[in-house]
């Protein structure tokens, strides 16, 4: 690494008025050809490039990004990280990812502020209790930390909650994953960008894909706003825009793109110490290190590519927060925004080979892509390098919509991801 970050390097650089810090990454122009091109400079794409270079010996790699790196859903989500998924296939994927989260700051020498403060999923109906316990039991037998907690314990974790919620949606308990938590989303993109750049990866921003050169079903190059780039391996990692890219390559995906909203309050002193998710009431809340209440809203009910969401969704979300946390009615929304998410029919990602040889897909993460960032990139790099799905990626192939082998997370979590 070019320059290690530490308290000592901070002190040293303070003496020179912080004028000697090196660039975190270069801003190269694209070369004529690369061994692999990653389309999409968000978290998943940057991690893919990092591991292609680090573990698979590819050195001539480009990440191309239409806007600025980390500017898509990586920088727009509510930063929840957990791995307590019900199905074995999903659990393997997200747990693989969670293990990489646990060593990310050290690996990257970049503090991504991964905070294992615990993730609480509340159960408000008898049916939710049943589904939650089913998930907890599956997690436990898969070796993933997950436990049922009773209402009194919920109150200990989140003292402000109204357990009875005026009787409409009482809290019957919930599941707790202590290793779950939050991270600083931008830092994830920046940390991996810096690390990938140090391994020689060219990160090319402000470079939009305009088409692909495909001959006899094989990809030969990527046409971009900065010229054509020859390559035989293309990884498509463009959350929200997978359908647009697939259209360019001549195939369709089982994906609807929808805006997903989030909002933050003004910063206040610490009052929410873990992540609290409530599926039945549709209230997802945590508190950033700066003190803002970070609230995840639902996805719009209709397709859209605007980076703002529909108003009824905001109203419903805040009504839910007001219902479960009546004291937060006096808190104030400081900023709201949206990101475009790829919704797949089974709420599980699509990873692996595409109908075009040499082109690989990593999309369909829906509302839950952030937590998968390191695992997804790690597995996807392996898939690209070996031209076959990594074992963890196998169940998530596009083919499953033909065979019927869906990994239907609706069964496990409703909308909560």
């Amino acid at each position: 690494m070019k320059s290690r970050y530490s308290i000592f390097s901070l002190a040293r650089n303070a003496l020179s008025y912080h004028e000697k810090w090196p660039q975190a990454w270069r801003s190269p122009e694209p070369k004529k050809s690369y061994d692999a091109v990653i389309v999409g400079g968000g978290g998943h794409g940057l991690v893919t490039a990092y591991y292609l270079a680090k573990e698979h010996g590819l050195t001539n790699i480009a990440v191309i990004e239409k806007g600025w790196l980390g500017g898509g859903n990586t920088g727009r989500n509510t930063t929840i990280v957990r791995s307590n998924y019900m199905w074995d296939e999903s659990a393997a994927l997200y747990e693989h990812s969670l293990k990489l989260w646990e060593k990310m700051s050290k690996e990257l020498n970049y503090n991504v502020m991964f905070s294992q403060r615990g993730v609480l999923n509340l159960a408000h109906t008898l049916n939710e209790v049943r589904i939650t316990k089913r998930r907890i039991n599956a997690n436990r037998l898969n070796g993933i930390d997950s436990e049922w907690i009773e209402p009194e314990q919920v109150k200990e974790w989140i003292p402000l909650i109204d357990l009875r919620a005026k009787g409409r949606y009482p809290v019957f308990g919930g599941s707790l994953q202590r290793r779950g938590g939050t991270a600083r989303h931008d830092a994830v993109a920046w940390g991996y960008a810096r690390a990938a750049d140090a391994l020689g990866v060219d990160i090319i921003q402000q470079c939009a894909v305009e088409g692909f050169d495909i001959e006899d079903g094989e990809v030969k190059g990527v046409r971009t706003s900065k010229g054509t780039i020859q390559t035989k391996k293309v990884g498509i990692v463009v959350a929200g825009h997978a359908g647009v890219i697939a259209n360019m390559a001549g195939f369709k995906l089982p994906i609807n793109s929808r805006p997903l909203q989030a909002l933050v309050s003004e910063p206040v002193k610490p009052c929410v110490h873990c992540v609290v998710m409530s599926g039945a009431v549709h209230a997802y809340i945590s508190q950033s290190d700066k003190g803002e209440l970070v609230i995840g809203a639902g996805a719009d009910s209709y397709n859209g590519y605007s980076q703002w969401g529909s108003n009824p969704v905001t109203e419903d979300t805040l009504a839910a927060i007001c219902e479960l946390y009546p004291m937060f009615r006096r808190m104030r929304m400081m900023r709201q925004w949206g990101g475009v998410v790829d919704i797949s029919p089974d709420a599980s990602p699509i990873m692996g080979l595409s109908p075009v040889k040499g082109m690989y897909l990593n999309c369909g993460w829906g509302t839950g892509g952030f937590k998968a960032t390191p695992g997804s990139g790690h597995i996807f790099a392996d898939t690209m390098a070996h031209d076959r799905p990594h074992p963890i990626a196998e169940p998530f192939a596009l083919d499953r919509f033909k065979t019927g082998f869906l990994v239907d997370e609706h069964a496990a979590a409703g909308v909560a991801h």
Partner: protein
Amino acid sequence: MLLIPCPYCGARAENEFGYGGEAHKVRPETPENLSDGQWADYVFMQKNTKGTYHERWVHSQGCRRWFNVIRDTLTNEIQAVYEMGETPPEVDTKTYL
């Protein structure tokens, strides 16, 4: 908050409506003659256009009738509405990268 012109009731706020996704996907008459892939195309695959998109809506909290809408999925501009079974009117087709 979209203002959606229901062909039967007039313009109403979006929260009166339900969404039905891509329009003009015709349910195959004899699904048993389709390959698994063709059936998956019908059930799961989406055009998911960024730009001018033909889609179906239903006025769930009004007349409960289905109809088609042509909407720009980037700007939310509604370019046309027309009844089920009608030929889509000509509009400027917008697409975006």
